[in-house]
Symmetry: C2
Subunit: 488 residues, 2 copies
């Protein structure tokens, strides 16, 4: 791995970036959605065309394999194209038209029309673990640009040269597509990120990373004289609940699926299943101890590797935790995938220490004695990105467990694995704190565009002053809710 | 006015309230939306039936006239009934179904379905100025109950006995409708409100009131180990821009409309137009000075009256502000409606002092010299609930002014007045900070329900474990977005 640092953005350069983003906001917001869609397609095409340059750079800076990086780039450009479709559909605008109505029961109502409009320049803090899909042109930037907002990306220090290259390709594509200058810019260094977050020209923040880092930025965004929305995706242990019937019916299959999921990408996924609950006495603990593990793999960078080793060591030093396999090489470099084991009773006695994210190829296996313990662990959880049930149809406990987990997690899975987050219309990648700082938002899927929009109502405006989305003749051909009834 | 204090809620009583709200959350969330709708209708009927008890109590505690209070109660019960309709419609759930698709371009996608679910117990801080519509069973409580959330109301100290009576009527109606115990409760006293906001069982806060009070609670909500969404509606000056053509064509009519709007309810509306921009030399300043004013009226209570007098006095002491009429009795009790005057140049030189809310029957008239000054004032605004244009069709400046104001305000009006906020599907009562702490939300209108919901995705669940809203057979008959396409 070779990471050449890029100098931090100077205060003068940051001022230029913010000034240009502010300057681009009005023009981009007024650019018709179909034209914004063309610009997203232009970026997607340009990134695909640059794959042969970008993937080796990404590999050099992140230790990730070319095949995985190729898939991630494909996901990234697919996402840009899907958001381009969304812009043409127009349903995301939530256009509402209430005509004036003398007979409105609370008293005559005026003509009021409401549509979602862009928030203004968005500051995106790139993540380390997906150098394409959650970085310079990842889901946050894609959502914000689609929404009509300029984007300033605070580059992740783990892959600065790749970021610069992606930024160069994308800004060239945007310029060729006629987008306003300053619409997308990159900044480098922790201080420039903090300074930008406090600048009044920035109207929202987005972040993917650790709980301490995300919380610090969330607090900073809220400390402003004019606080702004901050969409942080922080931490999650993504628990998996194996029910007794499932363990009996297909314990070995579940072990295989779990081993593959928690070690995928060397355990560096935000949806890595970090806790697996299995019935005590089912034999699954022994099967997990004996299961074959993939080879050791370098983590993204040395800082992440040392953080991982520290967290795992602390977990293993807990008096109620024992190594379950793989631990002989777990603290080496590169680390071998490893498991630790405890009981549900121990977990419930010390949830803060044991329900904790360990970013890397490790997980905690928790043996539970009965249904009561299983439900108690579910109730003890903090907010999660995902929660998974391995169960059998007709399990009497399942409805209650689904209900509890739906209150804790953004996504509840049944007999599947949480890693591999598909970009779709119904995807939800979020959850209550600390999974995110904004429980009503998602950072994956088309609904992510809503983060960077705010409603504006227009009362009594003549047609020529209304946004096209709100005209009675519906020139954009989008869904409109007219007098309370949705019309397509 | 007679306000008899009610003792602050004790720590033990608060614990009972929070415990009961937490206990009611699951049952209410699982109550079918149509049954929740019946409960809202039961509250509406019970409040209407209790009008003869409630309105005199409200009059005693707030100095507001019976006719106004009767209209407000009607608005409040209408709102409950409108939200009941919304629950039956089901569009607010934003139900999305993505079937599994092997051919999905980024790679095979699983079956994922997403719906909005209640956040959990909501703490509502009642407002002083609308003792029905923004208080115990006002828009915040109505939205939260409709969403499926228990509600704890921190009663406003200005109308405690009315609040207790409304609470008693509503809880009896809920009990008769079969709602879970603890679904709605009242607490009294500043400390109990702060304590409740910090309690982990409270999952969101809502507030209507002053900028300092709202900001303190917003900061408290964000200081929690697990920060929660806080929907605060704080302050707004609701500027009105009179364009030159309109001043020439119908200056006298605009003066009449403005006088009626800024003095409505003794100027104690959050949408009171507090700043009126008029063309210098148009004669409007003189017309405003000479206009007839309604009689002096008592404000809601002595604290509000003294706060108003202090704010107005400070404004009048500004070197660039002169009294324009009514000021001889403006600082008396009850205060006479009054106007002050300044210039756009002075306003732009000292916006912090001059663009400031003065809660009560006063407004600032600002003479501008040219279009450039008009646009500069628009650009200098903070976030607003409303911004109004008085213009003529075909005005060349209007499109630019609408665009700027849409970036500053939640609602933009044309040739109407901002007071009188209709409860409709397209209403937007919100705006960037300091108008609110959550620019994407509204506290009036059916879209207000979204504040108390969060998305949950279900991946791979068998039909019998899915929420009814997400089933392929659509038993609720609600709008569903299926594989990206909205179906009614």
């Amino acid at each position: 791995m070779t990471v050449t640092e890029i100098a931090p953005t100077s205060a003068a350069a940051l001022e230029d970036v913010l000034s240009a983003a502010h300057g681009a906001a009005a023009a981009w917001a007024q650019t018709p959605a179909r034209v914004r869609a063309q610009a997203l397609l232009a970026i997607a095409d340009a990134l695909d065309a640059a794959a042969e340059e970008l993937i080796p750079l990404a590999q050099e800076e992140t230790n990730l394999a070319p095949a995985r990086l190729g898939g991630e780039l494909k996901r990234t450009t697919f996402q840009l194209r899907l958001f381009a479709e969304l812009l043409v559909d127009g349903g995301y605008l939530d256009a509402r038209i209430d005509h004036a109505d003398e007979a409105w029961p609370m008293g005559a109502r005026p003509d009021i029309r409401r549509v979602l409009e862009p928030l203004g320049p968005v500051l995106v803090f790139a993540a380390s673990n997906f150098p394409f899909a959650f970085s310079v042109l990842g889901g946050d930037s894609c959502s914000a640009l689609a929404a009509g907002c300029p984007v300033v990306v605070k580059v992740h220090s783990g892959h600065p040269r790749l970021s610069a290259a992606v930024g160069r390709v994308a800004t060239a594509a945007l310029a060729a597509a006629g987008a306003p200058a300053g619409l997308l810019a990159l900044i480098y260094g922790t201080q420039s990120g903090r300074d930008a977050l406090l600048d009044p020209r920035i109207k929202a923040g987005a972040f993917t990373g650790s709980i301490p880092g995300g919380r610090a930025l969330f607090d900073l965004a809220n400390s402003r004289p004019d606080p702004i929305p901050f969409f942080g995706e922080l931490g999650s242990v993504n628990p998996v609940f194996v029910m007794a019937e499932a363990a009996a019916a297909r314990g070995a299959e579940i072990v295989d699926g779990f081993m593959a999921s928690y070690t995928l990408g060397a355990g560096q996924f935000c949806t890595k299943p970090g806790i697996l609950l299995v019935p005590a006495g089912s034999g699954m603990v022994q099967d997990l101890a004996a299961a074959a593990r993939p080879a050791p793999a370098l983590l993204l960078n040395e800082r992440i590797q040392s953080g991982y080793v520290d967290a795992l060591q602390e977990l293993l030093e807990h008096p109620d935790v024992r190594p379950l396999g793989g631990t002989e090489d777990a603290l080496a470099a590169p680390p071998a995938p490893s498991l630790a084991a405890t009981t549900a009773a121990a977990l419930l006695a010390d949830p803060e220490a044991l329900i904790t994210e360990c970013f890397g190829p490790a997980a905690l296996v928790v043996a539970y004695e009965n249904d009561g313990e299983l439900l108690a662990v579910a109730e003890a959880l903090d907010g999660q990105l995902t929660a998974t049930i391995q169960g059998e149809d007709g399990d009497a406990l399942a409805p209650e467990l689904v209900r509890i987990l739906a209150g804790k997690a953004g996504r509840v899975l049944w007999n599947q694995w949480p890693t591999g987050v598909s970009v779709t219309y119904a995807q939800q990648h979020g959850g209550p704190y600390p999974a995110t700082t904004a429980p009503a938002s998602t950072s994956v899927g088309t609904a992510g565009i809503a983060r960077f929009l705010r409603p504006v109502a227009y009362q009594g405006l003549p047609a020529h002053l209304l946004p096209a989305a709100l005209r009675d003749d519906n020139p954009l051909g989008i869904p409109q809710r007219v007098d309370g009834t949705l019309a397509l």
